[in-house]
């Protein structure tokens, strides 16, 4: 391996990709005494949390430079929005960040509702908050399980997935789907909340509250975990802000930035919760921030359970929302509305909106541009993982290979989010 970047790949295109790009320093030092090795953490890798390719240059075990390459999961979701009607776009949003479906549904629905100027009833808003917080807990459980697994604590993975199973059962009870629920739609919810949901959710939440504390103690009392995560993966705070890092990573650096408090939406202002902040700015701090976020989410869900308002679960907008099926079968007007909405879709007034919500990974925003027709003109998803992953190259400079896995885990990116 003298001086030539070599990538093991059957596809000649990949070799071209690596050898072609400017910006990577030459592998061999000028005096020829140290040699660098180029290692390809290829798209298929258990610890890159999806199809991410990181080309790292190593000097021994220290990374000299890392270049992430994305695009392996790009499916053109943004283009697909342009040929669908607005309500049909909701299932597309599920698949963008497939671990935090409801948060994406919420962001898109809020954006379109703002353009439509729809008034969402309080019950629907509180249900949305409750489900989004459950989705946040589920996403953080996966993060914890996979992060711990990458570092070596295998049993945490099983515990976390077992807890998440209960949350997926709740989603299935509400919408019929475990993951790609599309439950939060334009105008409210997709279906009426099922009978008996209150008891099921409160039981799950009690178990979760205990579980979070158990897993926290399980890991923090383990010296291996503490040694592998403390002091690893820091960047100066202003550089992190400039790089566009959001979410638990920036909160672990001391910046109090959370869209639920900064630009409240969906009645978040009626809930009493805190934004956990740490200042250590390393992988351990990010771990603590996310654990604390899970506890705060449990707190929010408990408040939602206690104070859930009664009333309609959909907005009063017959030109947007499909009528009740019984009414559609018996009343002519409802039938006409149903027909028009299904065949033509509802038209959204011209305009554009940039709606920001807090996804488990950071600042999630949808930029929806409407030209007055029933199909979106442009939908852009500002996904947190894309913004956070940009900084990977900078964050991995000078880090040991073993620590790079910890850093990548603490970044909690999801490739669906990154590539769309």
């Amino acid at each position: 391996m003298e001086g030539k970047t070599h990538v093991e790949s059957l596809d000649a295109r990949h070799e071209l990709q690596v050898a072609d790009v400017s910006g990577m320093p030459a592998p061999a030092a000028p005096d020829g005494t140290t040699r660098r090795m180029t290692l390809n953490m290829g798209p298929q890798h258990p610890s890159t949390h999806g199809v991410l390719r990181v080309v790292v240059e190593l000097d021994g075990e220290t990374i000299q430079s890392a270049r992430p390459e994305i695009g392996y999961l790009h499916t053109g979701i943004e283009k697909q929005f342009e040929v669908k009607k607005y309500q049909q776009g909701v299932p597309l949003t599920d698949r963008v960040d497939y671990l935090a479906n409801l948060n994406n549904n919420l962001c898109y629905s809020l954006a379109v509702e703002r353009l439509l100027q729809l008034e969402i009833p309080p019950k629907a808003q509180w249900m949305r908050v409750m489900l989004c917080e459950l989705s946040r807990i589920a996403s953080h459980l996966i993060w914890l399980g996979t992060h711990a697994l990458d570092i070596g604590a295998m049993s945490v993975y099983f515990y976390c997935f077992r807890e998440r199973e209960e949350i997926l059962k709740i989603f299935e009870m509400f919408s019929g789907q475990r993951m790609m629920t599309s439950y939060i739609r334009i105008g409210g919810l997709a279906l009426e909340p099922p009978r008996g949901w209150h008891k099921v959710v409160s039981k799950v939440v009690e178990r979760l509250a205990q579980g979070i504390d158990e897993y926290h103690n399980l890991l923090t009392s383990n010296p291996i975990w503490v040694n592998r995560t403390k002091g690893v993966g820091s960047l100066p705070v202003d550089l992190m802000l400039e790089l566009g890092i959001t979410g638990p990573m920036i909160r672990a650096a001391g910046v109090k930035m959370d869209s639920r408090k900064d630009c409240p939406h969906t009645s978040y202002e009626k809930f009493d919760f805190e934004i956990p902040i740490r200042t250590a700015n390393d992988v351990f701090a990010r771990f603590e921030v996310r654990m604390e976020e899970m506890r705060q989410s449990v707190r929010i869900v408990r408040q939602a359970l206690d104070g859930m308002p009664s009333g309609p679960w959909q907005a009063d907008a017959p030109h947007v929302l499909l009528p009740d099926r019984e009414r559609m079968k018996t009343q002519m007007e409802s039938l006409i509305y149903h027909f028009k909405i299904v065949t033509e879709g509802f038209r959204v007034p011209e305009g554009s909106v940039y709606q920001v919500v807090e996804s488990p990974r950071g600042e999630l925003a949808y930029y929806v541009v409407s030209d007055g027709t029933a199909q979106p003109y442009r939908v852009f998803m500002r996904t947190p993982s894309f913004g956070n992953l940009q900084s990977l190259g900078t964050m991995l400079e000078g880090v040991l290979i073993a620590d790079s896995i910890a850093v990548m885990g603490s970044m909690d990116f999801v490739l669906g989010d990154v590539d769309r």
Partner: protein, 151 residues
């Protein structure tokens, strides 16, 4: 703030409007970098949230590049909207916010808008030897062909 900006850089702001969620400033293309520099250094917009494009074909100028800026200190967001014609490059703002890097690459990849002085302007989501810019309105929804296997 808009008035101050207008005084500093006359003729930069072509138009200003209020959208559902805040202020949009329409900027002339060659003033993108000075306006962003002013907003970052003097008006306190430490963060850039995203950069994206919209293709308004067949309206001219064809592309609209939108910059979303966010100020933590003032808790405000502002949108900068720049209309460019096909083939006209824009000045990159990566030296102001390093987080603009991948977003500009994405706009280049999917729309074909070039950014001058970008550290590594190349395709990011599509394969590097792809032809065409997928998010343009005249690019077919299913791509150019159905089978991409090497013949």
């Amino acid at each position: 703030m808009v008035v101050a900006l207008d005084e500093q850089l006359p003729s930069a702001i072509v138009d200003a409007s209020i959208a559902v969620d805040g202020l949009i400033l329409h900027i002339a293309p060659k003033y993108v970098e000075p306006v962003c520099r002013y907003l970052k250094q003097q008006a306190g917009f430490e963060r850039i949230s995203a950069i994206t494009g919209v293709d308004w074909w067949p309206r001219e100028p064809r592309f609209e590049v939108v910059y979303f800026l966010h100020s933590l200190r003032l808790n405000t967001r502002v949108r900068l909207s720049v209309r460019v014609r096909e083939g006209d490059p824009l000045e990159s703002i990566c030296h102001l916010w390093r987080g603009a890097n991948w977003y500009e690459r994405e706009v280049f990849d999917l729309f074909g808008v070039e950014f001058r002085n970008h550290p590594n302007l190349e395709r990011i989501l599509m394969p590097s030897d792809w032809e065409g810019h997928p998010l343009r309105k005249d690019y077919p929804i299913h791509g150019h062909k159905y089978s991409y296997q090497e013949e």
